[in-house]
């Protein structure tokens, strides 16, 4: 492939430009080899694996519960989902029920995490386009969320909170009120954020009609989450393959709808994230109101030894379907854990979607897909 690329470059006088792996706008260590005719790209080929840490192989040597902290590092911007997906897969293998209260707590922390992740997502997108301020606003709000989650589970990024069979801690005294207070201040701040950047003419002009991905292509490339919904496919695991306590809540599934209907462009993906934060606020409020009393951890044997079988646990993470395919051979260690993450597919589409874009728009494309490196490489 690379050879073919080079040959073509020589014959057609194309320019080959390397971007990454250390580049501030690639969102982690990803490398893009851009073949361009001047400023217009023929394609940008992603080269990944610079953060391949072999998490799947490590899982094979660890008992089921001990692997949970490793899943934190699969998606460091929204580690709750990574915990949750794995816990769900193992619970399905074991065939155990999780107490209602634990499910509600899982939903609350997941949605808080979704807000935290999208804040970085939209902030970083604005930063890549050239507006630094929204990123700082995002970071500032994220600090408050980090404080809340730290009070709940003791860590800011790598939570190890959602365990197999339940969650590790109950709400400490007064956290409920703190979350509500945060939500009360967060909603006006979101309006302010919209005024600051979402309707900003420069951002709209920069994102609209850039890197259009139509619904068929999105499905074919296996895009998930906000990227898929930005292309107008109405699919959300929380609603369509309900898990945890999500059937109890009312929320909308946001679809990309720019000013002229769904296009699947960068702005649609941006706006989906902004709206999803507001939906998350709604879900958290409902979950706090309806938080049932009871246990936070199901009854588990001392040593987890699921019988032979395969389970697939998928959650709607901030970056879409985050699935764990866990294969058990009857021992206390998983035989194989396959992690299916949204960013993997989102990066694979870059080669297709970057055709004919300007080089400067590649940054917009990458940022709008909201990819993070460890989800691609694992």
């Amino acid at each position: 492939m690379e050879n073919a690329l080079n040959k073509q470059a020589v014959s057609d006088d194309l320019m080959i430009l390397n971007m990454g792996p250390q580049h501030p706008s690639t969102h982690g260590v990803i490398r893009f080899v851009i073949t361009g005719d001047g400023e217009v790209m023929q394609r940008a080929v992603p080269h990944v694996g610079y953060l391949h840490r072999g998490i799947e192989k490590l899982a094979e040597g660890l008992p089921y519960p001990s692997f949970v902290p490793f899943t934190d590092r699969v998606d460091y911007l929204a580690a709750m989902f990574a915990n949750h997906g794995y816990a769900m897969a193992v619970e399905r293998l074991l065939g155990i029920e999780v107490p209602r209260r634990a499910e509600y707590l899982r939903v609350i922390v997941s949605e808080l995490n979704r807000i935290a992740s999208h804040l970085i997502g939209v902030g970083a997108m604005a930063m890549d386009i050239g507006a630094f301020t929204p990123f700082l606003h995002g970071i500032r709000e994220r600090e408050k969320l980090n404080d809340i989650i730290e009070e709940l589970c003791g860590a800011r990024l790598t939570y190890n909170y959602i365990r197999v069979g339940g969650v590790s801690f109950d709400f400490p005294q007064g956290l409920d009120a703190k979350i509500r207070a945060f939500l009360d201040t967060f909603e006006p701040l979101m309006e302010e954020f919209d005024r600051l950047i979402t309707v900003n003419e420069i951002l709209v002009k920069r994102c609209a009609n850039v890197a259009v991905i139509d619904a068929e292509t999105a499905k074919s490339y296996g895009l998930v989450g906000p990227n898929l919904r930005g292309s107008g496919v109405d699919w959300d695991l929380r609603r369509d393959l309900p898990y945890s306590a999500y059937p109890d809540f009312e929320f909308n599934v946001c679809l990309g709808r720019g000013f002229r209907g769904t296009l699947g462009d960068a702005y649609d993906r941006f706006i989906v994230r902004v709206q999803e934060m507001q939906e998350s606020v709604k879900i958290i409020r409902q979950a706090l109101d309806g938080l049932p009393e009871g246990e936070i951890k199901g009854k588990l044997p001392r040593k987890l030894k699921p019988a032979k079988g395969e389970a697939y646990g998928a959650v709607e993470s901030a970056r879409g379907e985050l699935g764990y395919h866990v294969i058990s051979d009857g021992t206390d260690k998983p035989y194989r854990v396959k992690i299916r993450a949204g960013s993997f597919n989102a990066t694979s589409i870059v080669e297709h979607a970057s055709r004919g874009l300007m080089i400067a728009d590649l940054v917009v494309l990458i940022a709008s897909l909201d990819v993070i490196a460890p989800e691609i490489d694992r």
Partner: protein
């Protein structure tokens, strides 16, 4: 005609949205900043503002440690080393070493959940930068000690406030690495390790351990 009006519409939009964005930014000038003046100008030390559950650097309260190695087994990445030996008198065991490699630790909290007496815990200490990575191995036992024997209905020896033990053991950040070697076993009174002795011994053990820390 249409294109001209679109043109001016765009110009107007650009001006209005930029003005709005700038207004938002400017309004933050008159709000309370959230910057904390770490390290010395915070109202109270950052360490004290951290929540109880904060998972900082690990510490062991040795007088309450039963040397059961549950923590070492629970650790997925072998950060904890607990070494025991037979007591010279042939009765019971001796805790020879209790080392934690804080440079490798991932602060997941699995070990503290496994600890039966709660002597292993996360502390609010987070500043442990060092020039030499070998200094980031914390030796909690200076010489062989008799492990604590837990009996039902007896309170576990009271421990100092979290963070004090490990703070004393952490070497200065620019210290040269000095190879660690275990001290001699000091025979205590018979029945050492029961409740009262356990509660009385922390001063002794800690004193010794601190000595090694500074040396």
């Amino acid at each position: 005609m249409g294109s001209v009006s679109t043109y001016f519409e765009n110009v107007k939009n650009a001006a209005v949205t930029i003005f709005e964005g700038m207004a938002v930014t400017l309004s933050w000038m008159f709000r309370r900043p959230i910057t904390i003046q770490y390290p010395d100008r915070t109202p109270e030390p950052v360490k004290d503002t951290l929540p109880d559950r904060f998972r900082g650097i690990l510490e062991v309260h040795i007088p309450a440690c039963t040397a059961c190695s549950a923590c070492a087994r629970a650790c997925p990445i072998d950060v904890i080393l607990v070494e025991t030996q037979k007591h010279p008198s042939g009765k019971g065991r001796l805790l020879m070493r209790f080392d934690i490699d804080i440079s490798k630790c991932m602060y997941c909290g699995l070990c503290t959940e496994a600890c039966p007496t709660g002597c292993l815990r996360h502390t609010p200490v987070f500043e442990a930068t060092g020039r030499d990575i070998h200094n980031l191995v914390v030796h909690f036992v200076d010489g062989p000690v008799v492990p604590y024997k837990h009996k039902k209905g007896r309170p576990v020896p009271a421990s100092p406030p979290p963070g004090d033990i490990v703070q004393a053991l952490l070497k200065p950040w620019d210290a040269e690495y000095v190879a660690w070697s275990p001290g001699e076993f000091v025979e205590r009174d018979a029945g050492g390790g029961d409740g009262e002795k356990g509660a009385a011994s922390p001063g002794k053990v800690e004193g010794g351990a601190t000595g090694s820390g500074s040396g």
